[in-house]
Structure formats: structure tokens, C-alpha cells
């Protein structure tokens, strides 16, 4: 693919930008249907309680109330991405504060909320499990008594409150640590982070006369919505059609179910459209959040700077339901060796049920937490050896032909270019001589996983409709996929329109998650476009009376005879023939499932890993320049450089947007964001109390360096960029704080309090 591209590589604004800047984009809360009811939720006041009974009479008697549902009204069905452990509404027990125990549909939202407050639920409070340490104690109360009988989609190692236990081991880590010249070790803790997509979660369901349901919702996958709702309500999948309006940001929180099952249940019960939009407090309390991690890690090195061993032990708070947690645990362990060649590595982790809201997918999927531990240890080794931290990383970086931890192949690797790119852009070498707050970190992240598809259709006038079922959550995948399609068919991007995801009409797409849409769906788009090209050439060959093999696509939607510039025919003419005379309308389709193994049993011993085939690798190196106020301990990022290997930037502007946004979200995770529990209750479920960075807290100088080490089977070489930019950020900032102050932090967020404690050894020194 050496020819100049005309669609791929353009920094186009998103296709839907105009409606967004004019305020005309429609999100879930903006939708309405005739006769629509509004839903409201009654949440559990207890972290762990047996439900003894309900009194819903007062709520039902309130004028305007159409329906009240509790666990008694719904069958015994459970959903879950990995472990089928979650009912659509609490049944028998409530397992966290805020868990829906009843739902109401009424003529307006205020009435619905008022009715929810009138429902009386009789509880028997049970002792709660509020930390994973509590959960593994010998006499811990059980969050799920029936765990053993739940269906699991992978060979889970589980029991008691342990939902999943995973091990990955290569080589002999204890012997290698014993033989190492230096070993650094530490314990690390990261805080739960809230996604805070500015759009809260919500859904709207409508039932037709035949009992078939149409469901719109804020989501990252119409197909996961369909699966979750149907599993949790016991519906055949054909009875539910899932659609999506514009989505106001999703960082993992909208991938699996939130309120969709409840809204469908209310619509089925009332026969009327029902809409339920969470308020911000509910969005904090009942959707999901980034897992808090406890990590114990040891890294060993030789005096010459060769890393030789890493041992990682992880304890993960699952929350009350499995959700994506087994995946997060497995993935974090797989990432625990970092993007380095370390011959001996072992990672073991346990995922423990607690009586808190479910933790789940959040940009980075466990990798930012594990990288915080790993990349601060790399810096400590550099410090001990007197080496430049970037030199140490470059020296140990995975090289061509090296395998990932577990044995998976790495077919493209731009890590060295990322390190050198960040080093050059930041002026690292010169600035490190003087007093500074420069910190660096490296990482890799995957893009891939599971099934996807594409349908490319040529309309009668020769224009193209692309239908993939991939939900654009604002990151720009509609635009990037249109660019890929346009490039493959050599038509201007404006000639390609993108169909909105629809479980009735779109090919399956697992979801907008795992940084996967550009890479996996892009592959399907290219393959489907190639099929369209083949059919176009076959038609054109018959029309031009030549062999299809002698024909080529020409820019602008034409097919011509190679070497004969004026012998050509337009897509319009080919498509008219196909529609009206011969062959039938031209459609190209492709589906695929990511099938490259991530584990090589000859190299690694692996148990309990939910993802045996995860994806291809993107790489990153981030440098942050951190200033620390020596009066208060408050740290702030002055400037940052983010270098990311994306294979090929399909849309460089959108790639920069991902890198910049990921940096600031990672900075919030590193410095300010922390969900705090007071007993079983979330103490700060508001934007007044949970603080995300504003313009003034974010450095304007976030400099992006795009590295392109093409993935052989990626669309035009592309791989994902959605998550990789956040993975390095907490560690880079922590290393910057250490450079500025000498203080090493092992806990996120690095609040003024914790930084000041680390700077002064916890004592008072004024």
C-alpha cells in the first residue's frame, strides 16, 4: 500500500460534526415516543440484605403510576459477560447500596420518582463484604451462595467469594529473582475511578402490537445490549431490536447492561413506551467503575540494566457482580510484564466479590493500574543503577520476533520509535540535566477481540452505504471506517454514508471496546469492500468486454482498463446495470472473529484466563513534566508528550483527540479522582464531590507523536488507539513527582496529602 492515499490519513472532522455543533444531535435523553412513560428506580439502602417482602400498594395508588415491578415480577434469569450471576433487578438479596430493588413507570419522571419512594421493602440486613481482603477471610459472608452453579463462559477457577483466579507463568521467577543483582519490590493501591461520561446512562423501549420490543439506549454495543436484556429477562433474541442514538461518551461504562433490562421489563409490563434516564448520582452509584487494584510486585535486574524477572500478585475488588471483571483480571496479568523482554515472569491474581457496585470495563481495562506498579518499578531500577530511565526501557524493550507474556505473537512493534519520539519531542536529555519534574512510562495495549462484520452496498447512483453495527460513542469510528471504505473503493469519503447500528439490519459487532473497532471492524470493511470491487470489476468486464483481471479501480468511483486512461466506466453505470438488468445489486460482506492465540502452552503455564485470543499490540511512551508545590504537595502537569504506535493513523486528527483525551482522563485518575465509600455507601456520587479535571487543570501543551508500525493484517496497517494513551499516564506522573521531589508514591490518586506525606516522610517538617 505505497500509493498515496486519498481518504485514509486525512484529518477529517467527524461526519456528524455539524449536527453536534448546532446542538441538533439526538442522544437518548432527547428521544420521545407518543404515550411515553417515565421510569424510576428504588435502590437498596443496604450493602447486603435479604429481601423479605415488598409493599407496593401506596406506589401503585399514586395517580399517574402505570406499573411497579420488583424481583417477584421477573423470572429467575441472570446475565453476565463471563459469569451469569446478575439478575436484572435484585432478587432474594440486595448486594450493594443503590442496587435496583424495584422500578416504576409513571406519566412523568417526578411522579415515577415519588412513587419509587413510596415502595416499602422489608429487609433482613446481612453482614457486608466491603473489601476483597474481607471477602477472602475464612469466615466471610458469601455474596453469591450459588456461585458454583452459575454458568461461566470460561473455565473459571472460583469458590467462596473468589469469582475468578488466574495465573500466568513463564520461566522460573523465584530463581531469577534470587540470582538478580538488584530487586525492587513494592505494594501499590489504585483508587476506583468513575467514568463520568458527560451523558448519564439511559434507555427507551417500545413494544409493538405483536409484542416485539424496540430499544434505544446509550450503549457501546447494540448486540451486547440485546444479549444482556434477553438473557436477564428470558426473552428470545429475535423479540428485541436494539438501536442507538448518538452516544454522549462511553469509556467502558456503556458496554454491558445498565438500565436496559429494567426499561424493557417496564415496557413489556405496560405495553407503552418507557424511558428511564439516570440522574448523575445514580449513574455514579449503580452503573460501574474502574477496579481498585492492590498489587504486590517484584522486579529483578542485572547490574548492566537487563531486566530478568518480574513477579506480580494482584487482588481485585469485583464488586457485587462479575460483569467484565474476570476479563480485567486476566488482561491486567497478561500486561503485568510490560512491553519488555523479561525471561522469567509470574503473575497471579484473585478477583473477589464484595458488596459494592460492580466494577467493570474502563479505558485501559486494568492496564493503567498494573502499569502504575510496573513502570514506577522500572524507574526505581534506573535510579538504583544510575541509568537514564528511557535508556533502561529502550534496552529492555520487546524487539521484532519477541513474544508477549504468555507466548502470543507480536507482529508489529513501534515501541522503540515511541521512546525515541517522546525523548526527542520533550527535550528529555537536555532537560534532565537541570532540576526537573520529568517522568516517563511505556506500555503496550491490545486492539482486537471477538467477532465483527461489515456490509458494503453500492446504491443505484453508485454511492456507498457502509453498515458494520459498530457504535460510534464519540471517538470517531463512523468517520474512520468510512475513510477505510472510501480508500478501499477509491471514492471520496462524502460518497460513503454510514448506517446506524441496528440488531435487525447490521452484521454482528461485539462492541466498541478493547480499542478494537478500527482494527477488527476495519479489517471486515476492507474485506467487504474488496468483494464489492471484485463484483464491480466483473460487471465492468462484461460491460467493457474485457477480462475483469485487466480492470482497476480509479479514484472517484470509476473502473478502467489498465493502461488505457479513457477506457472506463462509473460506479453509477455498473450499479444501474446490477440493479435493473444483470447480476443483482452489488453487496460485499465479511465477518470475522479475532483468532490469533495469545497463549502458547509451550512457553507459559496459564490457568483461568478468560481471553485466549486477545489482539494485536499498540505501544506508547509518555513523558510528563510535573510541578509539585512544596508548600502543599499539590502536583500539576505542566506539559506532556504522548507517543503512540497506532500502526497507521486512519484519521490523524481523531488519533490526536484520543491521545489528548486519554492523557487528561489518566491525569484525573493519577491526581484527583477517587470514589470514596463510607461503609457500604458511596460518599461522593456527585460532580461537586468527585472531581474531574477542568480546562485549567489540564496542560494545554499535550504534544502528540504518532508512530506508525503497521500491523500486517490491519486495515492499511492500522491498530487501535482508544485506550493505549491512558495506560502510561499515572506512572509517568508518579515518576515525574519522584524526579521533582524524590518522593515515591505507591497509591493513586496522588493527592496533595499523599504527595506531601511522601515528600516529608509523613512527619511534620515545615
Amino acid at each position: 500500500m505505497n500509493a498515496a492515499t486519498q481518504a485514509v490519513g486525512l484529518g477529517l472532522a467527524r461526519l456528524e460534526t455539524r449536527e453536534k455543533v448546532l446542538g441538533r444531535a439526538q442522544y437518548i435523553a432527547d428521544l420521545a415516543r407518543p404515550g411515553m412513560l417515565h421510569g424510576a428506580i428504588l435502590g437498596s439502602p443496604h450493602a447486603h440484605a435479604r429481601i423479605l417482602g415488598y409493599d407496593t400498594a401506596a406506589a401503585r395508588a399514586l395517580p399517574g403510576v402505570a406499573c411497579v415491578l420488583t424481583g417477584d415480577d421477573l423470572g429467575d434469569h441472570r446475565m453476565g459477560a463471563f459469569i451469569k450471576d446478575e439478575p436484572p433487578i435484585a432478587k432474594g438479596k440486595a448486594r450493594y447500596v443503590g442496587e435496583p430493588v424495584a422500578v416504576v413507570a409513571a406519566e412523568d419522571e417526578a411522579t415515577a420518582r415519588q412513587a419509587a419512594r413510596l415502595i416499602e421493602v422489608r429487609y433482613e440486613e446481612l453482614p457486608a463484604v466491603l473489601s476483597p481482603e474481607d471477602g477472602i477471610a475464612p469466615d466471610a459472608p458469601l455474596v453469591h451462595e450459588d456461585l458454583a452453579s452459575y454458568f461461566k463462559v470460561f473455565p473459571a477457577v472460583c469458590g467462596g467469594n473468589v469469582a475468578s483466579e488466574t495465573t500466568i507463568a513463564e520461566g522460573d521467577v523465584e530463581a531469577a529473582l534470587a540470582a538478580a543483582d538488584i530487586v525492587v519490590e513494592g505494594e501499590y493501591a489504585t483508587a476506583p475511578q468513575a467514568h463520568v461520561a458527560i451523558e448519564p446512562c439511559g434507555a427507551l423501549a417500545e413494544v409493538d402490537a405483536g409484542g416485539r420490543v424496540t430499544l434505544w439506549s446509550a450503549n457501546q454495543s447494540v448486540f451486547r445490549v440485546q444479549a444482556n436484556v434477553c438473557e436477564s429477562l428470558g426473552l428470545p433474541m429475535g423479540r428485541l431490536r436494539c438501536l442507538t442514538p448518538r452516544v454522549g461518551g462511553g469509556f467502558g461504562n456503556k458496554m454491558e447492561a445498565h438500565v436496559q433490562p429494567l426499561v424493557v421489563a417496564l415496557a413489556l409490563a405496560t405495553g407503552r413506551p418507557v424511558k428511564l434516564i439516570l440522574n448523575r448520582e445514580e449513574d455514579f452509584e449503580i452503573v460501574r467503575a474502574r477496579h481498585p487494584f492492590k498489587v504486590r510486585m517484584r522486579t529483578g535486574a542485572r547490574r548492566d540494566g537487563t531486566l530478568v524477572a518480574r513477579d506480580t500478585e494482584v487482588l481485585l475488588d469485583c464488586g457485587a457482580y462479575g460483569d467484565d471483571s474476570p476479563g480485567v483480571l486476566g488482561y491486567a496479568l497478561l500486561m503485568s510484564r510490560g512491553p519488555y523482554r523479561i525471561a522469567h515472569a509470574c503473575a497471579h491474581g484473585r478477583l473477589v466479590y464484595t458488596n459494592k457496585l460492580r466494577f467493570g470495563a474502563f479505558r485501559g481495562f486494568g492496564n493503567p493500574q498494573i502499569a502504575f506498579a510496573g513502570e514506577t518499578q522500572i524507574d526505581r531500577i534506573a535510579e538504583r543503577l544510575g541509568m537514564d530511565p528511557l535508556d533502561l526501557r529502550a534496552r529492555n524493550a520487546l524487539r521484532d520476533g519477541d513474544r508477549w507474556f504468555g507466548g502470543g505473537e507480536v507482529l508489529s512493534n513501534g515501541l522503540a520509535q515511541c521512546i525515541e519520539g517522546a525523548r526527542a519531542a520533550s527535550g528529555w536529555t537536555a532537560r534532565r540535566g537541570a532540576p526537573n519534574g520529568l517522568g516517563a512510562a511505556c506500555a503496550a495495549h491490545i486492539s482486537g477481540l471477538l467477532a465483527t462484520g461489515a456490509i458494503v452496498r453500492v446504491l443505484e447512483d453508485g454511492s456507498i452505504v457502509l453498515n458494520t453495527g459498530a457504535v460510534d460513542i464519540g471517538q470517531g469510528s463512523d468517520t474512520a471506517l468510512a475513510q477505510i471504505c472510501a480508500e478501499a473503493l477509491k471514492v471520496p469519503v462524502e460518497r460513503v454514508s454510514v448506517a446506524s447500528p441496528d440488531t435487525d439490519g447490521s452484521p454482528y459487532n461485539w462492541g466498541t471496546t478493547a480499542s478494537r473497532v478500527t482494527y477488527t471492524t476495519g479489517r471486515a470493511v476492507v474485506a467487504a469492500a474488496r468483494e464489492v470491487e471484485r463484483k464491480l470489476r466483473e460487471h465492468a468486464g462484461e460491460m467493457l468486454e474485457c477480462s475483469a483481471d485487466d480492470l482497476e479501480l480509479r479514484w472517484g468511483g470509476r473502473i478502467g482498463l489498465k493502461g488505457v486512461p479513457d477506457k472506463e466506466i462509473s460506479f453509477l453505470h455498473v450499479s444501474l446495470r446490477a440493479h435493473w438488468a444483470a447480476g443483482g445489486p452489488i453487496v460485499g460482506t465479511n465477518t470475522l472473529v479475532f483468532d490469533r492465540a495469545s497463549v502458547d502452552p509451550k512457553r507459559a503455564v496459564v490457568t483461568g484466563l478468560p481471553f485466549p485470543r486477545i489482539g494485536v499490540f499498540s505501544f506508547a511512551c509518555t513523558v510528563a513534566d510535573v510541578a509539585v508545590d512544596d508548600v502543599t504537595g499539590k502536583a500539576a502537569v505542566r506539559e506532556a508528550w504522548s507517543a503512540v504506535d497506532v500502526g497507521k493513523a486512519i484519521n490523524p486528527g481523531a488519533v490526536e483527540g484520543q491521545m489528548e483525551g486519554a492523557f487528561v482522563q489518566g491525569m484525573g485518575f493519577a491526581l484527583t479522582e477517587e470514589m470514596v465509600w463510607d461503609g457500604g455507601r458511596l460518599a461522593n456520587p456527585t460532580l461537586a464531590d468527585y472531581k474531574v479535571p477542568t480546562t485549567l487543570d489540564s496542560p494545554h501543551g499535550i504534544h502528540t507523536v504518532i508512530v506508525e508500525a503497521p500491523e500486517p493484517d490491519g486495515p492499511f496497517g492500522a491498530k487501535g488507539v482508544g485506550e493505549i494513551g491512558i495506560v502510561t499516564v499515572p506512572a509517568a506522573i508518579a515518576n515525574g513527582i519522584a524526579a521533582a521531589t524524590g518522593a515515591r508514591l505507591d497509591r493513586l490518586p496522588m493527592t496533595p496529602e499523599r504527595v506531601l506525606d511522601a515528600m516529608t516522610g509523613g512527619g511534620d517538617a515545615s
Binding site: K20, V21, G248, G249, G661, V664, S698
Partner: protein, 154 residues
């Protein structure tokens, strides 16, 4: 709860509605008048997605009671016009818009800011937009677009 009639001047047109005391301007716009450009992100005045202009100045639609907005000129993003203004055009051109949920509030805040601060510095733009949270962009392209729309020095 009882309602009382109120007349609101929205985008140059008078609307008479029966409204409860505790109903906010944001609710009236979105639910009473189907003007859904202003978004509800937090309903606590923190996120800024509901920003509208009251007598030309940006305020939180969610913290303004509909009854207290009587006799004041209310401008929503729908009232800026069918074609993009310079702020909207610059945001589009810069590729600053991602999910777009914060965008209407950002546009209203930025439009009023540039009217009051011609040719602002980058720092002034960052201060001017500090009441509008964006979780997608990291702000850099947003700030640059508004700065450019204002004709500020680079």
C-alpha cells in the same frame, strides 16, 4: 405540586407555560418546548452541559428556575441560528468535537466569552471555558478552536 403560568422569552419568541415552582429552565426547555440542545449532565451546576444565555450572559439552565427567568431574554443553542457561528465553525474545523454532549454548553459559553473578550489569550480562553467539563477531548483542541475563532494571537 401546583403550577403557575409563566411567560418566557426564548430565542426571541414568547412562550406561556404552566410551571411548578421547582421546575428549572433546563426542564422547561427540554421537556416543555422540545429544545433539547441544552443537555442535562449533572443537574447540580457543575458540568456546564446545560449552559444557556440569560440576558446575554451564560448561566446554568439547571440552576435557573423557570419562574425566575421571566422577563429575561433566554438564548439557547437553537437560537444561535441554523448555520454555524464562528465558534461552532472553528470547533468543527479543528476536529474538537468528539461525543458532542458537552458541545452545546461549550458553544454557548464560548460565544458569550468571545463577545466580551475579543482576541483573547490562550490562558483567557482556558479560564473562560473552565466551567464546562469535557471528558473526551482533553480540552486542547477545544481551547485552540475557540482561541482561533476569537482571532487571538497564537
Amino acid at each position: 405540586m401546583t403550577t403557575q403560568d409563566v411567560t418566557l422569552q426564548i430565542n426571541g419568541r414568547a412562550h406561556r407555560l404552566a410551571v411548578r415552582l421547582d421546575t428549572t429552565l433546563l426542564t422547561v426547555l427540554r421537556e416543555g418546548l422540545a429544545l433539547t440542545g441544552a443537555k442535562r449532565g449533572c443537574n447540580q451546576g457543575v458540568c456546564g452541559a446545560c449552559t444557556v444565555l440569560l440576558d446575554g450572559r451564560p448561566v446554568r439552565g439547571c440552576l435557573t428556575l423557570a419562574h425566575d427567568a421571566e422577563d429575561r431574554a433566554i438564548t439557547t443553542i437553537e437560537g444561535l441560528g441554523a448555520e454555524p457561528n464562528p465558534v461552532q465553525a472553528a470547533l468543527a474545523e479543528a476536529g474538537a468535537v468528539q461525543c458532542g454532549f458537552c458541545t452545546p454548553g461549550m458553544v454557548m459559553a464560548a460565544t458569550a466569552f468571545l463577545r466580551d473578550h475579543p482576541a483573547p489569550s490562550l490562558e483567557a480562553v482556558r479560564e473562560g471555558l473552565s466551567g464546562n467539563l469535557c471528558r473526551c477531548s482533553g480540552y486542547r483542541k477545544v481551547v485552540e478552536a475557540v482561541h482561533r475563532a476569537g482571532g487571538g494571537a497564537p
